[in-house]
Structures are given as structure tokens and as C-alpha cells.
């Protein structure tokens, strides 16, 4: 605690030095970074949620929320960022997740003396906590970070309580794309699987990891009560179209046309909106009455 205060005093001191002599190069200052490039959508959201967006000087193409982030200079797709383009923004620090890359570019950026911070990519609540707290620390706003995480935690716990009142958890199947071919569905060990479980559902799909095509026959055998899909402009499928297809038509979900669509980035982003995403999904699955009962 004492150290943080000392650090903050130092930072204010150096900041004033910078203010005094404009010629002083910013990157040589050992203080909270002022020029940040984010190479991951969830990290960009965290910076915004902490109210520190004025420090962002560049983002990658996965940073689409809030909409204002898309107006910032682009460094390319997170797995394929451009070294020189990023350096041209003269960042003090680049914040990224484990799958940002390619490694060669990361090494080039590190060699160029840029502080490159890598955070967990894991689709878990723990990773969200880690990202929020570490980014807040990096920005020298640890208190704001704690506060933000507390808000997220509260929503997650509420959703958990809401889901706990349900006697029979629903079997949910996340469908990434369905149309003219075997639908791509979420098996275990991925973002959708985590979200389904956090929202109090059971992933109807077992037996493989990640997102894979699944023969419609296996889809019937999985007996999903609810189909979960991403709402994307122009790609969103209506319940009638979906449940008219053979396979989907034979699932328990078809009886009451239970299709839940959610914003993809919100659902699978694992950023600060995860609390809202979980409550939204839980409410979509089990209705709102339970929420009142839980309180």
C-alpha cells in the first residue's frame, strides 16, 4: 500500500517534469504508460470500463466495443499485427493476450524496446479477473480495477443465485453457424462452454473440444433444450428458419422454438461485460421471476 502511494507520488512528480519540458521523450519515463496500444478486444473494453480510454492510441480489429474504439488507429487483426504500424503509434506499452501475435512480430516489438504485456486468453472468470486487475495496475488505477471487478462479481453471483433456484438445468447447445451444412457447434473447453455453465446451463455437447462441425444426427442425439447463437448483423437466423431444418426440428428445443441469440462479442468476449452477459443468458434461459425470488 505504502509502495503504491510512493509510486503514485513519483508518477505525479515525473508527470510534472514532462509537462515542464516538452522536449522530454515520453517513452523514457518510468511511470504509468500514457500511450497504450491494445491488441485484444476484451482488454480494450477494460481500458474503457476503467475510464482511461484517452490513453489508448491504437487498437486491433477485434476491438469493436464500445463503438468509439473502432475510430482509433488500427494495428490489424490480433493474430497478425503489423510491427511497424504498431511502432508508428509510439506506444509506451502494448497490452495483448496469449494468442496475439505472430511471435515474430512480438519479438520485433520487444526488441524495439516496447513494453509488451501478455495476459491470459483462457475462457474463464479467473482470466477476466486477472485481466481487469492487471490492466488497472498497469494504468495505476488499482482501486478502479477492484471496483470494476466487484461489479462484475456481483452480477455473476446474482446470476448464479438465479440459476441455483432452478430444479432442472437446461441442456444448451451453442451453434456458431448453421445453414447449408453440418452446423458448427461448441464442444467442451471454449468460451461458449464456459458461459453456458456460468449461466447455470449444461452444455448439451460432449465428446470433443473447441468448435467442430457436428452431423445433424449427432445433434438430435445431444437433445438440446435450448439453442444458443450469436446475433450478428445479416447473419442472425430466425427461430422459424432454424427449427425448420431437419435435425434441429427433432430436438426438444424445437417444441417451444427455444432459440437464444446474443451479441457475439458480449457473449464470448470475456471482458468487463461478462457479468451482464451471464445475467442476460441466465434470464433468457430461466426467465426473470427467479431473479426476484433469489433476491
Amino acid at each position: 500500500m505504502k509502495q503504491t502511494r510512493l509510486h503514485s507520488v513519483l508518477r505525479t512528480a515525473t508527470a510534472s517534469v514532462v509537462l515542464c519540458c516538452a522536449a522530454f521523450s515520453v517513452s523514457s519515463v518510468q511511470a504509468a504508460p500514457e500511450r497504450i496500444v491494445s491488441a485484444d478486444g476484451s482488454l480494450t473494453e477494460i481500458v474503457y470500463a476503467l475510464g482511461e480510454e484517452q490513453r489508448l492510441v491504437g487498437v486491433d480489429t477485434t476491438s469493436t466495443h464500445p463503438a468509439a474504439a473502432t475510430d482509433l488507429p488500427q494495428i490489424g487483426y490480433k493474430r497478425n499485427i503489423s510491427a511497424e504500424g504498431t511502432l508508428s503509434l509510439s506506444p509506451d506499452v502494448i497490452i495483448a493476450t496469449q494468442n496475439s501475435g505472430p511471435d515474430k512480430v512480438v519479438n520485433q516489438l520487444k526488441a524495439a524496446g516496447v513494453d509488451f504485456r501478455v495476459y491470459s486468453e483462457a475462457p474463464s472468470l479467473a482470466a477476466v479477473e486477472e485481466k481487469i486487475k492487471y490492466v488497472a495496475e498497469l494504468l495505476d488505477k488499482p482501486a478502479k480495477g477492484e471496483q470494476l471487478w466487484a461489479q462484475v462479481k456481483l452480477k455473476v453471483d446474482n446470476a448464479k443465485a438465479q440459476a441455483a433456484t432452478v430444479s432442472q438445468p437446461l441442456r444448451v447447445m451453442f451453434v456458431l453457424s448453421a445453414g447449408d451444412r453440418s452446423p458448427l457447434v461448441a464442444g467442451s473447453n471454449n468460451g461458449a462452454d464456459t458461459m453456458i455453465r456460468l449461466a447455470g446451463g449444461i452444455n448439451a455437447v460432449e465428446g470433443f473440444e473447441g468448435y467442430k462441425p457436428m452431423p445433424v444426427e449427432a445433434l438430435v442425439a445431444a437433445r438440446p433444450d435450448v439453442i444458443l447463437m450469436m446475433a450478428r448483423p445479416g447473419h442472425t437466423m430466425s427461430a422459424e428458419t432454424l427449427f425448420a431444418q431437419p435435425g434441429f426440428a427433432m430436438t426438444p428445443a424445437a417444441k417451444e422454438q427455444r432459440l437464444v441469440t446474443m451479441n457475439g462479442l458480449k457473449l464470448l468476449g470475456f471482458g468487463p461485460r461478462i457479468g451482464d452477459a451471464i445475467s442476460e443468458l441466465t434470464t433468457a434461459l430461466y426467465g426473470d421471476q427467479n431473479a426476484q425470488a433469489a433476491r
Partner: protein, 351 residues
Amino acid sequence: MNLQREMRAQWTLGLLGMLLLFTLVISVGVGPMSLSMAESLQVAISRFGLIELSVPQHVVSVVESIRMPRTVLGMLVGAALAVSGAAIQGLFRNPLADPGLIGVSGGAAFAAVASIVLGGTVLSPLSARLGIYMLPLMAFLGGFITTLVVAWIATSRFGTSITTMLLAGIAINIVTGSGIGIFTYMADDAMLRTLTFWQMGSLGGATWDNVIAAATMILLAVVLILRYAKSLNALLLGESEARHLGVDVDRIKMKVILLSALAVGAAVAVSGMIGFVGLVVPHIVRMSLGPDHRYLLPASALLGALFLLLADMVSRTIIAPAELPIGLITAIIGGPFFIGLIVFRARKGGL
């Protein structure tokens, strides 16, 4: 000697037909859902009114609206790819030719990837109207139009040059390939997954609706191609020799190419990119039956159908409940088998 060969060819055709029938039955009987073979077959047979049904309704639905269309689609696509491959190899007199060479696969893939990536933005009025039929329709049109372009490039007032067509096909494939690259770059994560799997092929989208649509085009094209067997035989001697034999070479070329584009375009539209069938199957047949198109074409159709049915059974059961894309299986089986065959024939000196 010649008579012996014809006898052998006819026997082979009969044998392939029986094997196909047998595989068809098995294909309806296996799948990721654990139904007994007897139950599944009961459903299939009851359709002909021979026996009373005594199985639960969900078994009937799975067999009738999932397995049966998928099986039929597999046979159609396999036959379409193999017959077109055989006809195009004959036409080009080039063992490396396959339906991809006339641009149909490249064009279809380009249109399909475009509709996956642009479906939500530029092409949204189209996708709103056509829904899930947009991609197959676009793929079919893309394939057919690209083939027309290739044929147009190759045709001058001196007729259609096969060499120019070969070059045009390669050039068009480079163009469509770079177009696919651009769309891949524009795609987001979800689109990337969809388009990657599309390019690996799958029979998973089979419904009676699209089976009937594909069947109309594929059967028409295959039957018409079979009628050109004798002309293709004459072309094997060379173009001028064929002309002397009274074959209207330019007309045959154009017709075979357009019919192949029709068959392959329809196949790619409903099943995505399934490689190797069009290249390997005709070769296997040619190595065992010889180059006579009267037998080569029908035998290729049967073997293509058989091969794809087997590959699809592997596709939907090997890593159940997930599906291994069928294009990977045809390549994994087809590639080494083909290499083995070439090595074997080369040692015997009979390639």
C-alpha cells in the same frame, strides 16, 4: 482379346453396381446415433409398403430425413465429380486434368466465400431474401460463370483451343484464389471457421429439398456426358483424327465442358470442396479397364459414388459426435492409394 476386355468391363460394372447397393444399405444403417442396423433398415423398407413399422418415431425421422438424403447426396456428388473428371481428362488428353481445371471449383469457392463474408454487409439484401439457400446458389452460379469465362477465353474464330483453355483455367484459379485470400483476410473469427470448414467439404447439409435440386442437374449432366463416350474415344486419337472420323470436335468440347461445369457446380454447391475424387477415381478405373469411355464413364460414376459413400461413413462416425470433414478423408485415402498405384504400375512398366 477385345471381346474378353469387354466382358471384363461389363462384369466390373455389374460388380460395382452390387457393391454400391450393398454400401448404400450399410450407409443408411450406421451413424452417430445408436440405432440398430435392423431398426434403420426396417424404416427404409417400410417405405415400399412391404412391412409394418414397429420402431419409435424419432428413429423414423432420423433415418428418413437425415440419413437417407445424406446417403443419396453422397452418391450423386461422388458420381458427378468422378464422371466429370473422367470426361475432362479425356477431353484434355491429360492425366493431370480434373474438374478444377476448367475453373468451376475455384469460381464456386470464390462465390461461396464471398457470400459467407459479405452476407451481413454488401450482400445482405440477397441473404435476407434467399436465407440458407444463398450460399449454394451463389456457389453454383460462381462455378458456372467462371467456366463460361474460361471457355470464352479459350475460344477464337479458329475454334476452342485446349492448350489455351488449360492456361486460362490455371490463370482463373490464381485469380479466384487471390479473391478468396482477400475475403479470408476480411473475415472475422466466426466467418473464418465457417469458410475453412466449407472448403473441406461436407455432406452434412443434405435435405430432400437440396438433394432433389442437385439430383436434377447432376443426373441430367451425367446422362448427357455418357452419350458422348464414343466421341471422347475418337478424340483420344487426336483432334484432327477425330474430325476425320466425323466428330464435331468443337461442339463436343463445349458441351462436355458445360455439362461438367453443371454437374460439378451442383456438387460443390451442396457439398463444398471435395478433392481427389475427380482426379483419382477415373485413373483407377482407367488402369484396370482401359481408356474406352463407354466403360470408363459409367464405371467412374459408380466407383465415385461408392468411394464417397464410404468416405462419408468414416466422416460421420470416426470422431463422433463431431464430424471429420469429408474432403480430408478423400485426400487421406485417395492420395496414398494413388501413389501406390502409380508406383506399382511404373514398376510393371505399364503406366
